[in-house]
């Protein structure tokens, strides 16, 4: 963690008194900061603190109302991402799918920026394209199916393509917004290695993440935003204080209170997710929270999909409350009380333009219906009760979902399934894009409401897993391979288990084996 901030080094970027207002909302208020070459600066802030706005202004996709940005001492004004890119500022935004173009191959996606340049060749040279793409991938140590359509890649591989694209632009300041959100620990470690390489080449990196462990690993110093204002600058050693500054108050250490497991609710025997994978058993009990963890591409989501009627398993028996059961569709699964909140909130849970109320009642609308007509008052009462019970922060129940922060959106998604008296609740990565405080709240809600149902949470992050689980199941190659009770389990053991054996090299994320799962 050596910071080469010698007196002689000229700052790369100097931001002075930057302000930005949306309507009546002050997103940024006189924020000043300096970034030097060859350092990794963590940008911290709760949801809505102004991080995204700052990043968008730096990257040229929004313009500031006031203040100035200087690059190499020269005042600059960015009218577009392209103009920011010309001086070497490249941003990778949190929404992975904003960074890829469906319909094009992986290689074409890697070279998208090059293809978009006005001076690019008119004719596409397939061979040269593949060579260039292979070079970019190899430079980062990635093994990608270059000729395959990008749609065949999973979220993690897409994320790596987007990152590779940014790296290929040879940025001087690289802005990474939650780059590990879709990555498992092993993939994240690879990313950190890449970041180290870039830093040693003199690239400055502005790194945004909710994951403290990420920041501890890569950041040289931290800048904290709160309510659109600078709340302080901290060295790498002061990260706990930085988090405190970000939240405005200290976050208490998480205390694990065990829950007693009750009756067996769901039992899987000899389930094979794919023809070539090993059969495994899995059982869930009332009242306990079980976490399914594993590397990316290990097949965690696929196991959940079997339970929700989205995927056909082979050679198995599944029993729900002691009776043979297998859903053919999500609808059937919901009818029998098995609920599933999918991984990507925006594309799989939310309906654009649907208000909080409509989003919350979507699966169980029948309850608020008489003779086919919706009973508005009954619906509103139930929604308001749920908003209060879950502590969802909103001005009303008819606001669009986009007005809520990530954490509150996630609470709505959770709250929708808590409306039904479920037997099994499966949540796939419920903490993505959720700040630490909201994560704790959601974890607590999950645990508090766990009586009377079995809860299965898919979670690649070790800290998140340890926070909410009573029992942790390790998934490797589409099968549950190990089980750890929470009591007496420490972080190091779990990390070692995740990575295989300690001595083994971390498996590549995109070997043909794991790709088959995508």
């Amino acid at each position: 963690m050596s910071t080469p901030v010698a007196v002689a080094v000229e700052p790369l970027i100097r931001v002075r008194e930057l302000s930005k207002t949306f309507g009546s909302n002050r997103a940024l208020e006189r924020v000043s900061l300096t970034i030097y070459p060859a350092e990794v600066v963590a940008l911290l802030g709760a949801n809505g603190a102004g991080k995204s706005t700052l990043v968008k202004i730096l990257a040229g996709s929004q313009s500031a109302d006031g203040g100035e940005i200087a690059v190499d001492g020269q005042p600059r004004h960015f009218g577009s991402p392209l103009s920011a890119r010309r001086v070497g500022i490249v941003a990778v935004h949190q929404q992975i799918n904003e960074g890829i173009a469906p319909g094009l191959s992986v290689a074409e996606n890697l070279l998208l920026d090059e293809l978009c340049r006005p001076d690019a060749d008119f004719w596409l040279n397939r061979k040269r394209l593949l060579e260039r793409a292979a070079k970019i991938a190899a430079g980062l140590g990635l093994v990608l199916p270059l000729e395959a359509p990008i749609e065949q890649l999973g979220q993690a591989e897409r994320q790596l393509v987007v990152l590779a694209r940014a790296f290929a632009l040879q940025p001087r300041l690289l802005i990474l917004d939650e780059p590990t959100a879709a990555l498992s620990d092993a993939e994240a470690q690879r990313l950190f290695g890449l970041i180290d390489t870039l830093r040693s080449r003199g690239v400055a990196i502005l790194y945004i993440s909710h994951r403290l462990s990420d920041l501890q690993r890569v950041a040289d110093r931290a800048i904290v935003l709160r309510d659109g204002q600078l709340a302080g600058e901290f060295t790498a050693r002061q990260l706990p204080q930085a988090v405190q500054a970000m939240l405005g108050q200290a976050l208490q250490d998480h205390v694990y209170t065990p829950r007693a497991a009750g009756r067996k609710v769901l039992e899987l025997r000899g389930v094979k997710v794919l023809p070539r994978t090993r059969p495994f058993d899995l059982s869930l009990h009332e009242g306990e929270v079980v976490v399914l963890t594993g590397l990316l591409g290990a097949g965690k989501s696929e196991i959940a999909e079997v339970l929700f009627g989205l995927r056909k398993a082979l050679a198995f028996s599944v029993q729900l409350d002691g009776a043979d059961w297998l859903p053919g569709s999500p609808r059937e699964a919901i009818r029998s009380g098995v609920f599933f909140a999918a991984e990507d909130r925006a594309s799989q849970s939310l309906v654009p333009d649907f208000s909080l109320r409509r989003t919350l009642t979507l699966p169980f609308l029948e309850r608020f219906t008489r003779g086919g007509f919706i009973r508005n008052r009954a619906e509103a009462a139930a929604v308001e009760a749920q908003v209060a019970a879950l502590g969802i922060k909103t001005v009303g129940i008819d606001v669009p979902m986009s007005a809520l922060s990530g954490g509150n959106q996630q609470k709505v998604v959770l709250g929708r399934w808590l409306l039904g008296a479920g037997r099994v609740l499966v949540l796939d990565e419920p903490f993505q894009g959720v700040d630490v405080r909201a994560r704790r709240e959601i974890g607590q809600l999950l645990r508090d409401s766990a009586d009377g149902r079995a809860t299965l949470v898919i979670c690649a992050d070790v800290d998140e897993a340890l926070e909410i689980a009573d029992r942790i199941l390790l998934v490797r190659d589409h099968a549950v391979v190990a089980e750890y009770p929470r009591a007496g389990l420490d972080r190091a053991t779990l990390v070692a288990a995740l990575a295989g054996t300690d001595a083994d090299p971390i498996p590549l994320h995109a070997t043909p084996r794991s790709r088959a799962s995508a």
Partner: protein, 341 residues
């Protein structure tokens, strides 16, 4: 939390509020202005008789537009509605004039034919996974072609000669003709009445029923709706069947008004209906297909055309005017809304 504090004080600037008001009420103002302008320029415009003639002229297009609104709500589009209306008109005429049957079988067979096309559209889209525009474009051509076959491409009129040389003996029943020409209390045309009832029903369905809400959920994010347990395929199929049924009903009203099976009469309907539904996006800032907006859209175009005709504007300017209104409405909906964010 910063985000909640900002939410608690939603006091937009005056200019922003003006833009918001423009987006919300702009089209209703335009409709009001059109009415005021024409009633000043030509006092006859406001006569009850003329107002009902506007409604009469709009009723059939509005029926089709309400149908296409339903398919738009599930995120689809039905281009075959004009062809279905024309087919329905030909079936009804054929059943009564050539077969010599009564009004009731004519109506029922026409509607059944419409429902069949709706099922075909739904099947192509849901089961065969043909994109909606292509599926309904295909069935549009199919239906346009099919309706020409029984009469050898000729229009059906009372006493016409069939391709085999026989003369037809049947005729349009008076009961059937009353559907298109009758008036309630000698003032409200029956087609206007039917369209009004259908409009209220579609509005209630989309805004107040569970299935309507799920229609919008499917249209907004099909995957999210499926994962929330909505029977996506069944509801999409339902939307296309309803759309075809309404188009079929529109064709019947047209046949009853014309009193003959005119092969070319349904052709212009599809674009007018699509236009009305799209203009409807801009009404009250809905930015989505909605029954009330569709109705306002249809009325707006009809009032404009009626007024222009009264002022002796050339008939060939009609399409230009329709296009202009549509483009302006779409600007309201998408352009201004985008800038207001």
């Amino acid at each position: 939390m910063p985000d909640s504090s900002s939410l608690l004080s939603p006091v937009p600037a005056t200019s922003e509020r003006a833009v918001q008001a423009l987006i919300r009420y702009g089209l209703l103002w335009v409709l009001a202005l059109i009415v005021v302008f024409f009633s000043v320029a030509e006092p006859a415009f406001l006569r009850v008789g003329n107002l009902f003639s506007i409604l009469q002229s709009v009723s059939i297009v509005a029926l089709l537009a309400l149908g296409v609104t339903l398919t738009m709500a599930v995120g689809g589009l039905d281009l075959s509605i004009g062809a279905v209306a024309a087919m329905s008109l030909m079936i009804a005429s054929y059943v009564m004039v050539v077969l010599g049957w009564g009004a009731v079988p004519a109506v029922l067979i026409s509607l059944a034919g419409g429902a069949l096309v709706g099922l075909l559209n739904g099947w192509l889209i849901v089961k065969m996974r043909v994109p909606d525009i292509l599926a309904t474009l295909g069935s549009m051509f199919l239906v346009i072609g099919v309706q020409l076959i029984p009469t050898g491409g000729r229009s059906i009129a009372v006493g016409m000669t069939l391709p085999n040389g026989d003369e037809t003996e049947g005729s349009f029943s008076t009961l059937f003709l009353a559907l298109g020409r009758g008036r309630l209390w000698d003032i409200v045309p029956i087609p206007v009445l039917i369209t009004a009832v259908v409009a209220v029903a579609v509005w209630l369905f989309l805004e107040r029923t569970r299935v309507g809400r799920l229609f919008y959920a499917i249209g907004g994010n099909e995957q999210a709706a499926r994962l929330a347990g909505a029977p996506v395929q069944r509801f999409k199929l339902l939307a296309y069947v309803l759309s075809a049924l309404l188009a079929s009903l529109g064709g019947l009203l047209l046949a009853a008004r014309l009193g003959r099976g005119d092969v070319s009469s349904g052709n212009g309907l599809v674009l007018d209906a699509l236009g009305a539904a799209l203009i409807g996006f801009a009404v009250l800032g809905a930015k989505k297909p909605n029954a009330f907006g569709t109705l306002v859209g249809a009325l707006l175009v009809a009032a404009l055309l009626n007024g222009l005709t009264m002022l002796n504007a050339p008939y060939y300017a009609q399409d230009f005017v329709k296009g202009l209104v549509l483009v302006l409405a779409l600007m309201f909906t998408f352009g201004l809304a985008h800038r207001a964010r």
